[in-house]
Amino acid sequence: MERFLPERAEKAAEMVAAALHQNLPLALAGAGTKAALGRPVVADAMLSSARMNRILLHEPEELVLTVEAGALLSEVNELLAKRRQMLAFEPHEMAPLLGTSGEATLGGIVAASCHGSRRFRAGGVRDHLLGFKAVNGFGEIIEGGGRVMKNVSGFDVSKLVAGSFGTLCFLTELTFRVWPVAEAEETLAISGLPDRKALEILRGIAGEPMDASGLAHLTSGASSGLSHVPDLGSGPLTLIRLEGAREAVSENAAALLLRFKALAPRRLGREVSARLWGAISALEPFAILAGAVWRLSAPPGAMQAAVSAIGPLAAIYDGAGGFCSLLVEEGLDGEAELIHETMKVHGGHATLLRANETLRGRINVFPPLESPNLMLTKRVKAAFDPRGIFNPGRMYEGV
């Protein structure tokens, strides 16, 4: 496939106009690390933001960052870290999991709504994207949102763009709110808890006013993939991350140690903790294992039952059970229907994160929609891309 790499939004708009004129479907991409996510797209040309990669503005005292869509996550992280700031939704590289190559761009991260373990507490991409610029399927340069945190001027189009997988517009510029890195961080690890018990504990903590910013549980099949992180032990692994003011973190950690004394919890310091949660957000344990990977979202109280009904090879519960990533055997079409159906029954939904292209072309990658929702989704798609030239069929047939 031929790749076109505009360096400015105006150029991208011209390319989209040409595609409209020539009736060409376009695959939209950043660096292409998530090309294997979603339904396969058939297109003759690719429009990539890889060459629009400048960091345009970082005002640490305003907690705001503006980048071109092709800016690399690694570069942005490095810049923010120098000022002890971060993108709080924990974006991460997905290439290792998906078996692709290259480094993630912020545009791709927004389009795929790629967030990590802090999501349940701090919000996801949608909550941190303040504004954007893009080229729509009319070939026009559009903008949405702004650069301040509190903004209700006009429709909140940024929300829609986050997680739209390039089906609505070609992102060119993004503005995020950034957060200060917490003064202190510590993780408590407990080994050997059965899933149900572990999730009960995590849900309990989520309902308490201590700033737990990571509440995860890995089944043994998943925790074995973390053997490179020291001090984790073996078997199922339950993790509680505390972040905040130094005094608060040590007080809360001490209280939890006392409360769970019988379960022999271990304290992991900042460095190990950071590595560990990075690995969990990126689903590293699944990167080295074969199989299809699903991401589930459900009411926290219903997740464990849903997962045990599915019976995966391994599971990584996150966000106190509000999220769960599953490893299942690949190649079983029926499995997909079972997963979607099970999640619906339990009041949640599932998205296929990793599978071979044939499978992704055959089954529902995204949660099946009720008919009015699907019709509305198609009308929304048409409002941005009436000729359907952007990533045709990436999310749903016709979307």
């Binding site: 301040v148 001027s153 006013p209």
Partner: protein, 494 residues
Amino acid sequence: MRLDPIDERIAARRAEIIAGLRAAAPDCRVIDSDDALSAYDSDALSIVRQKPLCAVLPGDTAEVAAVLAYCHREGVNVVPRGAGTSLSGGSTPRGDAILLGLSRLNRILDIDIANRCIVTQPGVTNLSLTRAVEGQGFFYAPDPSSQSACSIGGNVAENSGGLHCLKYGLTTNNILGVECVLVDGTVMRLGGKHLDPGGLDLLGVLTGSEGMMAIVTEVTVRIVPRPPVQRALLMLFASIEAAGQCVADVIAGGITPAAMELMDRASVAAIEAHCAPGYGDAAAVLIAELDGTRAEVDAMALRMTAIATGAGALSVRESRDEAERQKLWLGRKIAFAAIGRKARDMICMDGTIPRKRLPAVLAEINRMAAHYRLGVANVFHAGDGNLHPLILFDAMKDDELARAEAFGADILKLCVAEGGVLSGEHGIGLEKRDLMPVMFSESGLMQQQRLRCAFDAEARLNPGKVFPELHACAELGRVHVREGRFRFPHLPRM
């Protein structure tokens, strides 16, 4: 600020429409007497008034759907209304539209502590949600100052904020799902009791759509554990600049207070005269709220005091008990009312700016006040740069209303020029509609309208709000294929 001329053809069919509605939804309350409709002739933007065709008060989702289906079939406009506290004219009625009141949908349906959420009908007040779960140690975080009156449905439509959204976010960050009815009567659900709705984030874009995309008939909100300790810090400064610097330093220093509010001298004087919270006399008064565990609050209070002192605070005082904390906040909470007593009329502006522009913008606002010969008092949600200049005037006097409106528009243009936005929490509505081109490009505005077309192709829901010009959806949807300089080489035209 004015209403568009109404569609006389619809207004002329009033009797027929009222009868039609009664037939379509027999159990629905339809109010048509001229007297009773006086209670429904405006929202909190009371300088614009017009009686609706009639007011329709459904009692459940099915009735909402029946009413909408009827209006869709018959080409009748619909203005949704929660509690009518919109300050931007979001629920200002029109003579060619029915007013669809959601106040009878006022039950909390499910309190689900295990999943940390509440399922509620839209007419329930914001404060009732917190009341329903505070016994179990939780609260619903977004807390607009109007929280004892405004409805959660209205909050969703306006994406409302409140004092505590600095730490806890706006409505959009605190809801999980809705049931809503589209303009043709189709009932649908977006989201549920889980995070991330799945597929395109239609819930995200419906939130803050000012009643123009769908009628919200049920909302699932997240609830948050109530922090065991809350403490207020009162800081006095000799200048707005110094207070602004303190705010910037606090934020940059990695402290996120639950709230951080700034008042200028004019506001403080009015408040002291009203309820004497004992702020003292200073050019700028900053109140911050810290919440969390005791260790956390102690630690943050220490750091914040140091920062404030470094920024030149004249004094820093911590609330010693709950009564003192309440007293300090009371002054801020009654600020609008206290300032409002100083003039016959008042409009409350609502722009947001980058925090560090605060001193410069305030100086410019005071300069404008002199130019327009009107009083102004300033209260800010300083932590997130959301300004609420209160313009004081007397609509009965010569051209004061016109001057006040021009002054308000200038303030908002200034906010945008400084890198900010037209509205931080009150919405665009009727009030700021004509200023939208100041902030958005023509194509950006068209894109928003196309999005609206996806929900409501005939623009029947809340017509005349948010967008300065009405474009037909068919025209908006047309692709103008132009032959540019660029061509994809090697690739054949399909």
